[in-house]
C-alpha cells in the first residue's frame, strides 16, 4: 500500500514535471518567436502605390489627318516669312516646349531637337504639322508631307482572312506602311490570332530580355508588315523593349497609338519599321 502510494505520488510528480517542461517549452518558443518578430520581421506589408504619371508613348510621326482638333497652348512665334525646300520634314515629336524632328537634307536623314542646327537652320519649335527653323534672323516653316493619295507611291497588298473586312489590311512601302485600324484593333484584342501567325521567343542576356521572332506565318499580315523571322525587337516608339514589363507597358497602350515605329535588329543591323494606323 505504501509502495503503491509512493509510486502514484512519483507518477503524479513526474506528470506535473512534464507539464511544467511543456509549459516552459511553450514560453521559450513564444519568446523566441517574439524576439525574431521584433528583430527581423516586418510588421506591415507593402502596399502598391498606383503610379498615375504614366509615361506617354513616344509619338514619332504624325502623317495622318487629325480628325479631332487638338488644343495646344498658343505660342507667340514670329510669323514665318518663307519656306525652305532643301529640308524635308519626315517626322515630328513634340511635347511642352520641346520638339524633336526627323529631317532629310541632301538625301541624309538627321534627328534634331530644339536648338540644334542643320545647314545653319536652327530648330525653333514644332507643331503637329510643321517645324519652324531660324537662320539669319529669318524664320522658316517646313511642313510635314501630306498623304492624301497614298496609292501614288504605296503599293497595295491583297487582303487575307484574319478579319472579314475586304478593306486593305496593310499598305505601304518597305519602310513605311499604313495599317488598317480595324485590323490593328482586332489583333490588339485577340492575342490568340497573333500567336497563330507569329511566335516570339524571349532570350535572356544578362539582366535584359531580348524578344526574337522565332516564327512568322508565310503570307500572314505580320509578314506583310515587314517583320521577318530572326528579327530581334529592339524598341517600339523609342521605348527599348528589354523586359516583360516594358513589353506589357507598350502593349497596354497600343490601342491608342496612331503611329508605330519599331526598331528591329536584323542581320546585326538596325532596321526601322514605320507604321501608321489609319
Amino acid at each position: 500500500m505504501i509502495t503503491d502510494g509512493i509510486m502514484k505520488q512519483n507518477s503524479k510528480n513526474s506528470n506535473i514535471k512534464l507539464l511544467l517542461i511543456v509549459l516552459i517549452v511553450f514560453v521559450i518558443v513564444k519568446a523566441l518567436w517574439v524576439f525574431v518578430e521584433f528583430k527581423w520581421l516586418p510588421s506591415i506589408g507593402i502596399d502598391h502605390i498606383q503610379n498615375r504619371d504614366i509615361k506617354a508613348l513616344y509619338y514619332r510621326v504624325k502623317l495622318a489627318h487629325n480628325e479631332h482638333k487638338v488644343q495646344t497652348p498658343k505660342q507667340t512665334i514670329q510669323k514665318p516669312v518663307s519656306s525652305i525646300k532643301d529640308i524635308q520634314l519626315l517626322a515630328i515629336y513634340t511635347t511642352q516646349g520641346y520638339a524633336v524632328v526627323t529631317v532629310q537634307y541632301k538625301g541624309k536623314t538627321k534627328v534634331l531637337s530644339t536648338g540644334e542646327e542643320i545647314n545653319g537652320f536652327k530648330l525653333l519649335s514644332a507643331s503637329m504639322q510643321y517645324a519652324l527653323f531660324a537662320k539669319n534672323g529669318k524664320t522658316y516653316k517646313v511642313e510635314l508631307p501630306k498623304i492624301k493619295d497614298t496609292s501614288k507611291y504605296i503599293s497595295s497588298i491583297s487582303p487575307e482572312n484574319p478579319t472579314k473586312t475586304n478593306k486593305e489590311l496593310v499598305t505601304g512601302s518597305d519602310n513605311y506602311k499604313v495599317i488598317n485600324k480595324d485590323v490593328f484593333e482586332h489583333f490588339a484584342n485577340n492575342i490568340d490570332d497573333i500567336y497563330k501567325n507569329i511566335a516570339i521567343k524571349d532570350i535572356k542576356q544578362g539582366n535584359k530580355i531580348l524578344f526574337k521572332v522565332s516564327f512568322i506565318k508565310r503570307g500572314s499580315i505580320f509578314a506583310k508588315l515587314g517583320i521577318k523571322r530572326g528579327d530581334i525587337i529592339k524598341s517600339v516608339n523609342g521605348e527599348e523593349i528589354d523586359s516583360y514589363t516594358k513589353a506589357f507597358s507598350i502593349y497596354r497602350g497600343i490601342k491608342n497609338m496612331q503611329n508605330l515605329t519599331i526598331v528591329v535588329i536584323r542581320n546585326n543591323k538596325e532596321v526601322e519599321l514605320e507604321y501608321e494606323i489609319n
Binding site: 518567436w33 518578430e37 527581423w40 516586418p42 506589408g45 503610379n51 500567336y195 521567343k201 513589353a247
Partner: protein
C-alpha cells in the same frame, strides 16, 4: 518507458509551439518584402491566420508597377514537415490578359506542396482553362510543368516542348 514518453511529449510540444506561435502574418509580410526586390508586389485585402493555417484573400499581383493578376485566395497550411499553398481563381488582369493566350488567362486552382520527403523540390499542380498540369519547382530555380490534359494548345504551343510523356513547359528563372 517513462523517459521515451517524456521525450516524445517534449518533441511534440516543441513542434506544436513552433507552428502555433509562428508569426505567420509577419512571415507573409517578409515574403512580400523579398518579392519586391524582384519587382513583384502583392496587395491583399485581408489575412486570417490560424494555428496551422493562414488565409490571404483578394490579392492583387503587380509586376514592376503593372497589375498582372488577381487571386481570390491563397491558403497556406504550415506543419513544417508538410506544407501546402492552395491558390484559387488566379485571373490575369485585363491589361495583360490580351497579351497572353486566352487559354492561360484563368487558373482555377493551383496547388503547391513542399514536404521534407523531397526537400529540394516543391510539387505544383495547376488546373485551368488550358487543362491540367503537374510539375515541380526546385532549388536550381527551374520550373517544369507536364501537361497531363491539354484543352487548347494551339494558342500557346510555341511555349511548350514535347517528349515521350507529352507536352511540357520548362524554364529557369
Amino acid at each position: 518507458m517513462q523517459m521515451v514518453k517524456n521525450i516524445l511529449v517534449i518533441i511534440i510540444s516543441l513542434w506544436f509551439s513552433i507552428v502555433a506561435f509562428m508569426p505567420k502574418e509577419e512571415l507573409y509580410y517578409t515574403l512580400e518584402h523579398k518579392l519586391v526586390k524582384y519587382g513583384i508586389e502583392l496587395n491583399e485585402k485581408s489575412i486570417k491566420s490560424g494555428i496551422f493555417s493562414m488565409d490571404v484573400s483578394d490579392i492583387d499581383v503587380y509586376v514592376e508597377g503593372i497589375k498582372v493578376a488577381h487571386i481570390d485566395h491563397i491558403d497556406f497550411l504550415i506543419t513544417l514537415l508538410f506544407n501546402t499553398i492552395d491558390l484559387s481563381n488566379i485571373q490575369l488582369d485585363s491589361s495583360v490578359s490580351s497579351f497572353v493566350p486566352s487559354s492561360i488567362k484563368k487558373i482555377q486552382e493551383g496547388h503547391i506542396v513542399y514536404s521534407v520527403t523531397s526537400p529540394f523540390k516543391a510539387k505544383i499542380t495547376l488546373n485551368g482553362d488550358f487543362g491540367k498540369a503537374q510539375g515541380y519547382i526546385d532549388t536550381n530555380r527551374s520550373l517544369r510543368l507536364n501537361f497531363i490534359e491539354l484543352k487548347s494548345k494551339n494558342s500557346f504551343k510555341y511555349m511548350l516542348k514535347k517528349d515521350d510523356n507529352g507536352w511540357y513547359y520548362e524554364t529557369k528563372f
